[in-house]
Amino acid sequence: MKPNHHLDDSTLLAYAAGTLDEAFSVVAASHVAVCPACRGAVRAAEALGGELLDSVGGASVSDDCRSRTFAALEQAGLYRLPVAAPRPAFPRALAQFLPVASLDDLAWKKKAPGVAVFDVKLPASARGQLKLLRIGAGRAMPEHGHGGEEITMVLMGAYVDHMGRFAAGDVADLDEDIEHRPVVEQDGDCICLVATERPTRFKSLAARIMQPFVGI
């Protein structure tokens, strides 16, 4: 899998800084896991974090903190890498929130003919929403914008819109004012992982029409 559509540089930086909301962070981690180019980019961004840590200057650390740390070393075991579990059918960053072995086992909610949605339950600290969207082969979605921040990653199948073909591993990390009309390819369903802000504001009529349709 070599993705052709990547995360925006501002998303990569926020991910490396650790400031990306959890919903978006799961999508970013899922893409980074299969994209060598974005993985290299995250490392470069982390290097900025390292330099900035180096430049903040020091605050004096109490003797108590020092001695507590050294005392704790006695008990601190060595960190062991978790035994690699068999690769799930979907990204590990997502797997921690899905207690199923296959996306087929999820309790998909039908929203319209050929359109089903599954809400991924995130920790309460998450401010955004994370959903899986399953769209039937050959289906066209109505043209819509999003009225907020949104990142989509294709997990299975593929769709085509005016920006190109989006297949497994690709992300659409779009400005909120871009409208598109995705059409799923004929040879199978398309499953996407979609992070959005909570729907508090919608700019376009299309987005308002889409909201009850797919619930995003």
């Binding site: 540089d9 896991a33 605050a59 650390v61 075991g77 590990r92 960053a93």
Partner: protein, 199 residues
């Protein structure tokens, strides 16, 4: 004049390389021999920086020291996992501190955590990625940070040091979110250019 500045830059770069080589040797000694003296050297360098880093986010001195302790213990237990090809020791310590902070936010709501660094396929690194550690050591990342416009640097500090989300940066600086993002893109483009060309 230019030559003098270049000489000063080179001295700074050499000093950085010397320090980084030293940190790597301490990490190796901790990983292989559980060497407490090497760990003490790492503690004395990084703990004050970590504390000041932690305190930038409205954290009390007490909690900051708890986090410093946790971060330094992670340095001790995970030393064998440090890979120089992926970045400097300082960058590695930064990622430990960043992950601790994220874990703490989630722990407050009782959720399991994984690390940002747990990638599915860690082995297929392109050559460019392998070179990054050396480039950072050569002072290129520091040079990139010194030479970007102040308004971009400010956004990086708010993101990486104060760990403020982009939307809140926009509110705080009274600028549109789009401007925050475009400044981040420009800053990142600048870094990539310097890493790729070495200039």
């Amino acid at each position: 004049m230019y030559a003098v500045m270049e000489l000063a830059d080179r001295r700074k770069d050499e000093e950085k390389q010397r320090l980084e080589a030293l940190f790597r040797s301490f990490i190796t000694r901790v990983a292989q021999n559980r060497d407490r003296q090497a760990f003490a050297q790492l503690f004395d360098h990084f703990a004050p920086r970590l504390k000041s880093f932690m305190m930038r986010k409205n954290t009390s001195a007490e909690l900051a020291e708890d986090l410093v302790q946790e971060a330094m213990i992670a340095v001790w237990t995970k030393a064998a996992m440090y890979e120089p090809s992926k970045g400097s020791v300082t960058t590695w310590v930064f990622t430990i501190a960043r992950n601790l902070r994220i874990d703490r936010i989630r722990r407050d709501v009782h959720m399991p955590t994984t690390e940002l660094g747990d990638y599915d396929e860690p082995s297929d690194a392109p050559e460019g990625e392998e070179l990054l550690g050396r480039k950072q050591e050569d002072g290129l990342v520091a040079r990139a940070l010194q030479s970007i416009p102040e308004e971009q640097r400010q956004i990086l500090v708010l993101s990486f040091v104060e760990e403020i989300p982009q939307s809140e940066i926009a509110t705080r600086l009274s600028i549109p979110l789009g401007t925050v993002k475009s400044r981040m893109r420009l800053a990142y483009g600048h870094l990539r250019r310097i890493l790729e060309t070495g200039l």
